[in-house]
Subunit: 135 residues, 4 copies
């Protein structure tokens, strides 16, 4: 069962072609992912924690345009968990219309101030909580 | 030979993690692509023309973070031309550091007002001019 | 009675200083204003209509920072109506904390394709509907 | 003598109305201000320094639209210096056309990690350097 995040297209998200600029789909996916973390009782930015989650890769395939004021949903699945990375898959739908599909991989890193980022193991308890929320 | 577009990271492009938000790399790629069109004597938004260039797919693999005020370059290649689509590949570099690599496919569409978008053949003269610039 | 629009801060809206970039407050105000139009049974972008609503001025005074994942509300009032312009005032609150106050003036213009924008009278029925929604 | 920053309008900065979204003018002003800091041999985000520069207020009056690929300039003046604040005025021009005028006030604050932001005196040497660059 995917986690479902609902959203409406805002004016500033469109461009002169008359529909949503393609870069916004990546933000929509991220918003959905962070909403899933919250649904799991977590936040990606817990103060005092020294783990960060930068992107390793992000991709989206576009099927249909989204227009101003369209209501849509992002369906997120935690598709795979490896030692240091999480892979998410996303589908954006407006009613029965598939807007497109995406996937993003994030990596767990140490974020000690001043030090370079270094991959670290994904904390096991976080995975359990995310899976419970994103089925 | 790739086309080279130079740019500096702006403050609003960073996020609380302290470096550039991953969605901006897609805008950097687009800025570079549009600069290439200009270098070819073209513009992607010629008034009065009824061809549009929406994205079919976009992807980026991240290798290293970009920081505020970093100067970087985007190297663009017109990697392949099919009947209705153009595929671009991009590499972002800050000096000798590879920031990441991306690819984007755009499709030529009719944009008659009111009608749904419909794929059309890529105009041949445009391909010649783009290749001359991004050769 | 102001119209109230609720929202949560998203990751991409923060910058390296650790809180929301100041340019976002203008988008928050606009999102609230457009939600008010919808609450009034209207949309600022009605297809086929030849009236547009560009900004004449926009201003915001900042009192306190907004942080990632903060829930906040924008309270909008249609403060004054002149022959060709609407003036909106906005206050952003996070619980009992005033984040800041803004104001924006929009002007009604003809948007006949190809012609320069020209001020036109604010349609009277729109004002009635907006006032009913924004008290 | 104002400091002059040159820029071109990018595609993602436009909206469905066909010209630059009004929120971008605030980013253009900030980009110009940060370029001025660099011209003064400074950066607004010097690592290891515990002074930050959040906005106290920002305003813009719009005169004419900016379109995709327009080249324009932002002319910045350090209009006044008070004990804890700097006031900047900005004018955006495309050739002989005034796009609009803005002003922004920033306040110097302590940014000791974990502590609330507190106003502090503007460092005197910074003012000298900024004035030398922005006349």
């Amino acid at each position: 069962m995917p986690f479902v995040y609902r959203r409406r297209v805002q004016f500033a998200e469109t461009d002169l072609a008359g529909f949503v600029h393609f870069s916004w789909h990546f933000r929509y996916m991220e918003e959905a992912e962070h909403a899933l973390w919250r649904a799991a009782g977590l936040t990606i930015a817990r103060a005092g924690e020294n783990v960060g989650w930068p992107r390793v890769s992000a991709a989206f395939d576009y099927r249909a345009p989204l227009y101003f004021e369209d209501e849509f949903e992002v369906r997120v699945v935690l598709a795979s968990v490896r030692r240091t990375t999480l892979e998410w898959t996303h589908a954006i739908w407006r009613d029965e219309t598939l807007i497109g599909e995406g996937r993003m991989t994030t990596i767990a890193v140490d974020k000690s101030p001043g030090a370079p980022m270094k991959a670290k193991d994904v904390p096991g308890d976080i995975v359990e909580q995310l899976k419970a929320a994103a089925g």
